[in-house]
Amino acid sequence: MIVVTDWIVFFITAALLLSALLCFTAAVIGVYRFGFILNRIHSSGIGDSLGFLCAISAVIIATGLKMDSLKLMLLILFMWFTSPVSSHFLSQVEYYTNEHLYRYTDRIIKEESKDREKRV
């Protein structure tokens, strides 16, 4: 019986770690391949939120419910609280300093209006 629960814990941990790896891979590829900074912030946010959650919850499940796992939960809370704040200020600085931001926004507006015309 103990062996079965051990295997279940192992498989859940492995699945969570693999999904965390997937998230981080996507985040890294996005950060290096995207050209525009807001897209980069978005892709790094994937790693910061979902990848971090998966990795830390895998460690929590592997160690079981102890004081250490409670501390790790606190770590998730901290990361989820601070990461959006830093992304927010990165995008704000980009908004204030980038003179050519209107090009991107204009393009988006044009595409949206085209979509609307198609629908009509």
Partner: protein
């Protein structure tokens, strides 16, 4: 001068003479400058007797200089090679270092009263070293102050009204933002509490003055970022900072001086060591940790404030 005066008296002098001279500008002033420089260089350096002058003045000095340099290099190389030849082999037990390590491991808890042997080492056995480290931080803060602090002359001279200071600072002044205010409200007390925990737990576990002070300094920086320097300046002025650093360092000096004068290693001082593992244990380690933590926190916040706006606690 006299010639010029007599010419002027006789009426020979044209007042616009020099102007007409100046009108004859050579085709390329750069060429003229080049030739002038060349002449100057020849006049100074290419004198035929220059070599003999240098030789006469510096020959003896250069000989002494070279011999001393060669001798000191050879002696240094010899001493270092001699020492390396007498070092014990890597990994072998050697009496020079293993004795001290064994002493720390076996008698550390008993002699210092601290469960964390590292804290016992850096704040009891080798307290002078830590005192020097805190003074290094203090000196760094003083140097940054000398370099970056804006004086009244700069502020009054209208330098601060320029575009690059005021305008950009208002662009990036995040202290009016709701998001960071909420983040600061939630995070700053937690970070300060964690810093105090690390600071007070230095003798019983990982932590101590440097790490706890760094965490508390980060909390101070976070507060200043989230709520603006105006609120920070109500409490944390430059006077507060200098008094805190001064009293921390002088307390460290006097407390540790007392211990060393009454015989180090707890021979004859009257500081209770307490039970190892309790919060109030380790003799002087806890107060010294607090002193070091205060210095580190003040230094970190002082660096941030000086780099951000050129003053601590108001311009």
């Amino acid at each position: 001068m006299k010639e010029w005066f007599t010419r002027w008296l006789n009426g020979d002098l044209e007042l616009l003479e020099h102007v007409s001279d100046a009108s004859e500008i050579p085709d390329s002033p750069r060429e003229e400058l080049k030739t002038k420089r060349k002449e100057f260089r020849q006049r100074i350096y290419d004198r035929p007797d220059m070599d003999s002058i240098i030789r006469a003045e510096q020959k003896g000095f250069l000989a002494i200089y070279h011999t001393i340099a060669i001798i000191s290099c050879v002696v240094l190389i010899g001493v270092l090679l001699f020492t390396v030849a007498h070092l014990p082999r890597y990994g072998e037990e050697n009496p020079y270092t293993m004795e001290v390590v064994e002493r720390y491991v076996e008698h550390g808890v008993e002699e210092t009263g601290a469960v964390n042997i590292v804290a016992g080492m850096i704040l009891d056995y080798r307290a002078f070293d830590t005192l020097g480290e805190s003074h290094v931080l203090f000196t760094a803060l003083v140097c940054v102050m000398i370099l970056l602090k804006l004086d009244k002359k700069t502020i009054r001279g209208g330098y601060l009204d320029s575009y690059y200071t005021v305008k950009q600072d208002t662009y990036f002044d995040v202290s009016k933002d709701t998001i960071i205010r909420l983040a600061g409200t939630v995070l700053v007390p937690c970070i300060v509490l964690f810093g105090i925990y690390v600071l007070l737990n230095g003798q019983n576990g990982p932590g101590g003055g440097f790490s706890g002070g760094a965490i508390m300094g980060a909390a101070l920086i976070m507060f200043a970022t989230a709520f603006g320097f105006d609120r920070m300046d109500r409490v944390f002025t430059e006077k507060v900072l200098s008094l805190t650093v001064f009293f921390s360092l002088s307390f460290y000096c006097f407390a540790k001086g007392y211990v060393f004068f009454t015989g180090a290693n707890g021979l004859d001082n009257h500081i209770p060591k307490g039970i190892p593992g309790a919060i109030l244990s380790g003799g002087l380690i806890l107060p010294l940790d607090i002193a070091v933590g205060m210095v580190v926190a003040c230094t970190m916040y002082g660096f941030y404030s000086l780099f951000k706006r050129g003053s601590i606690g108001g311009a």
